[in-house]
Every structure is written in structure tokens, then in C-alpha cells.
Amino acid sequence: MIERHPSTIVETFVRLVTPLVQLFALYVLAFGHYSPGGGFQAGVIFGATYILSGLALGEETLKARVNERVCLAFGAAGVLAYTVTGLFGMLGGGEFLDYAALPLPVDDVRARYFGILFIEVGVAMAVAATVTLIFMRLGRRA
């Protein structure tokens, strides 16, 4: 069991920095079209904020924020979001993962742009959940 860190400085810093890091993760996710980054990196950064909470504020605080069942559902939902995006391409008359055929009220190029965004969100969800899930079990003593 990981105990809460006794230092007020550490605790305050973690509380301050967590939302900023999560915001950065969302930026990395949304800006992956233009700069290095994307769903995978965003997912790891987002998951890292929960690891940070666990390390600094103690495992009890982490468990109050997120539990394993939610993580499992979140990760599975990420893979599902990816697959469903692909299936919607088929529904629209294209091939699996053909974003141009997605039923969106935009032209083909923009549809591909949004298709990439959808699957990146799925990747980020799966990766964030996986990282958090492993850490939550690892900190626990047998």
C-alpha cells in the first residue's frame, strides 16, 4: 500500500500540476494532426496523472478518484471506439476504416481528418486505462 506523502509541498504541487498535465494530454491528443504527439502519447500522459496522484496522495486517494472497474470499461471502450469508427466507414459504403465514407456532413478530406481524431481518442482511452490499471495493482502488497 502506498502511503500519502507527508510533505505539504509535494501534496500541493501535485494537486496544482495534475489538471495542467491533463490539459496538456488533451492538447497532445487534439494537436497530433499538426505536431509530434497523438493518441498514444496523450494516453500515457493522462494515465501518468493518476499514477502521480497515487504516488503523492496515497493509494486511498487514487482509489477514491478511479477504480479498476472504470479503468477496464474505459480501456475497452477505447478499443471499441476505434473499431466502431471503422465499422461506420463500412456502413457509409466504404471499406473498414475508410474515413471518407463516414456519415459526417463534411467533405471527404475533413471526414478523414475527423476519422483520425476519433481513432486517436480511442487509442488514448485504451492506453491511459492500461497504464493506470497496471499501476493500481502494482502498488498493492500481496
Partner: protein, 179 residues
């Protein structure tokens, strides 16, 4: 100049790799491994692979180090003593493989060589048309998430499944310590 930096980073990488293997204190080993990931990400950045550098920094230097440290909490910092016996056969095998790799490496194309086989197959088409076809200037993203989306779907499924496997194993170990 940049080759001198790259060479220095590679030397540092080797030192950190040896340190992370040989350190008697597992905390030092884990932190060296994190530093190894960080230096590796600098090397990726130095040769222009920014997306890979980002991933290496986030995973190699960040997440995997923290997971190693969390794992250390469950065990002791001291590692069991190394078997110092070196098999007679392992020396020629290691040296032979190393020399063979060095010899073969001379035939590799230079970094960023446009005439390299990997740069002549489908890459030029992706690079030329990513903007008009996907409105995505970062070709790495458009290749990963659109042109090669099927591969990335498999990769995502593998990551989640592997994480699920690790979680199930740890769950079993923490709930039934005797098994």
C-alpha cells in the same frame, strides 16, 4: 558538430545500459533505465524522429520508470548476487554477433537518405498527398491513423490485451499470494 553530439549520446547510452544491468542497488538500476530512455529520446530527436522521441520520453523515461519504481515497493532494493561465471562459449558468440552487426551496418543507408529502399516504396506518395487527402500536416499521424489504420487498430488491441494480461496476473498474485 551534430555527429559529435550523437556520438556522445550513444556513449552515455552505453554507460547507462551497463549501469542499469550491473548496479547492485535496484533503485539505481531502475533510475538508470529511465535515464537510458531519456537519452534514447534525445537520440531520436537528434536524428529527426520527433514522434518517436516523444513516445520514448513519455514511455521509456516516464511511465516505465514509474512502474519499475512501483514494482520496487513490493520487493527489496538489494538484488540477489549475480552469477559471475561467464560461459566460455558466450564470449565468441557475443563478439562474433557484434562484429557481424558492425560489418552489416556499413551497408545500411544513411539517416534521411531519399534513395533508401524504405523511402522509395509508398512513403513519397504518403508525404506528397497527406495534406490534400487528410488535411493532416504531420505525416506520421496520417500514416499511423489513416493510411495504416488497420495496423494501429491491431497495435491498440495488443496494448490493451497485454495490459489486461498483466493486470490479471497481478490480481491473482495479490488476491491469492500462495498460488
Amino acid at each position: 558538430m551534430s555527429e559529435a553530439i550523437l556520438g556522445g549520446l550513444l556513449v552515455l547510452l552505453t554507460v547507462l545500459a551497463v549501469l542499469s544491468i550491473r548496479a547492485g542497488d535496484l533503485l539505481i538500476a531502475a533510475v538508470s533505465l529511465g535515464a537510458y530512455g531519456f537519452v534514447m529520446s534525445l537520440i531520436w530527436a537528434a536524428i529527426g524522429a520527433l514522434d518517436v522521441a516523444f513516445t520514448e520520453a513519455v514511455v521509456g523515461a516516464g511511465a516505465s520508470t514509474v512502474i519499475m519504481l512501483a514494482a520496487l515497493l513490493r520487493t527489496s532494493r538489494r538484488r540477489s548476487p549475480l552469477r559471475s561465471r561467464v560461459s566460455v562459449l558466450s564470449v565468441p558468440i557475443t563478439l562474433g554477433t557484434g562484429l557481424a552487426l558492425l560489418y552489416v551496418a556499413q551497408g545500411l543507408p544513411d539517416v534521411g537518405d531519399v534513395a533508401a529502399p524504405a523511402s522509395r516504396h509508398v512513403s513519397p506518395r504518403y508525404l506528397a498527398r497527406t495534406l490534400e487527402e487528410t488535411a493532416t500536416p504531420n505525416a506520421v499521424t496520417s500514416v499511423l491513423a489513416d493510411y495504416r489504420a488497420y495496423d494501429t487498430l491491431g497495435e491498440t488491441a495488443v496494448i490493451f490485451t497485454a495490459g489486461l494480461g498483466v493486470w490479471l496476473l497481478l490480481k491473482r498474485a495479490t488476491e491469492n499470494p500462495r498460488q
